[in-house]
Symmetry: C2
Subunit: 214 residues, 2 copies
């Protein structure tokens, strides 16, 4: 899609934030939207009894807090899992720009649909696929997204995710994520070392991701 030229011109501020910090808190009423420039963050929801469901992974280039364009407040907190540097856009300014150039609003519609498609893809995973498939598909998704952003080398990608975060994303427990990781490791399909995940056997990984199941 690419950033809109008017938006670039009006870029206001930027910032750097450490790992494990909130980029947005639930309920926050802010008028700034953030674009991640480097680093990873997780957007999640909490249940009443304190368990977490990760809704999406934010990678460089992704927008955080876009709902502020149409909602008064942030619903889902966003926390960094690595240091993140970002730039900030004022909601009011974006709206002004959009008023001048209606095409921009269609860009928002488009972005919003992409986000929805992504969360529906995850829905299918949680509803209809087993743990092994979910993990394999998550790895493939990250590999694709990072490759598109030129952040992968060959079949290696940065991998700062803790097993607990993966569990919270895939609707599993950390223990079970560990089991499935072991299976992928022992079958020489993927390898994780020093925060880098390497896909050793792409065909096998795709196979696992697509295997018929339940």
């Amino acid at each position: 899609m690419g950033t809109h030229p008017d938006v670039k011109r009006r870029r206001k501020k930027q910032g750097l934030i450490r790992a494990r910090q909130h980029l947005f808190r639930s309920g926050e009423t802010s008028n700034r939207i953030v674009v991640v420039r480097s680093g990873w963050a997780l957007r999640s929801a909490m249940t009443a009894d304190g368990r977490r469901q990760v809704l999406s992974i934010l990678l460089p280039g992704d927008i955080a807090g876009g709902e502020l364009l149409v909602r008064g407040q942030i619903r889902n907190p966003i926390q960094t899992i690595t240091p993140v540097d970002y730039c900030v856009f004022e909601v009011d300014q974006l709206k002004e720009i959009a008023a001048e150039d209606p095409k921009l609003v269609w860009t928002f519609v488009d972005l919003c649909f992409s986000g929805r498609e992504a969360s529906e893809a995850r829905l299918v995973d949680l509803g209809r696929r087993n743990a092994e498939q979910r993990l394999a598909r998550l790895i493939l998704e990250l590999h694709e997204r990072l490759t598109a952003k030129n952040l992968a080398e060959e079949d290696s990608i940065p991998f700062p995710l803790r097993q607990q975060s993966i569990a919270d994303m895939l609707g599993l427990t950390q223990v079970h994520v560990s089991r499935v990781m072991r299976s992928l490791r022992e079958n020489r399909i993927v390898q994780v070392r020093n925060g880098v995940l390497t896909i050793l056997d792409m065909n096998a990984l795709v196979e696992v991701a697509q295997q018929y199941s339940h």
Copy 2:
């Protein structure tokens, strides 16, 4: 939100379609968007091995095929589960109207966000709640939505869903949905008769929906 006045004026056609028919097929490239006027429909995704995940339930007032505003084709098929009558809007015309009145585009952004929020709520259900909670929450959601549309009487709502569809929505099997329904029935929490579901004990239902779990 309410339908935009310009849109109402240009309403083109309407139609009636029987139960178990496709309102949209996957891959369809149509230039018509549909608003459901009465009846229920399901939007779903299929896995490679033919299992189904229901992504959303369309009730009267809901839009079907909205993605055609920003995408070339329909990704997820929509099938009626009751007779549906609907009205049709041409995509091109909507875009023309939107060009004249940019507010309308913001309405699309808003709608799109609502859809995303709904699918993320379901994501939390599938990732972090057990079968009983999922079903209780589905019933409460339908009750709320139908009440808002004035389609509920007291605590009774029309309920044309087959157990298999509920299963495909909640990531369960039909057999297990039957078990959970039995539990709700035997505890005198809900009752289904002649396609009408009655909430006999709202407090208990809310309790089930929120119980701490796993």
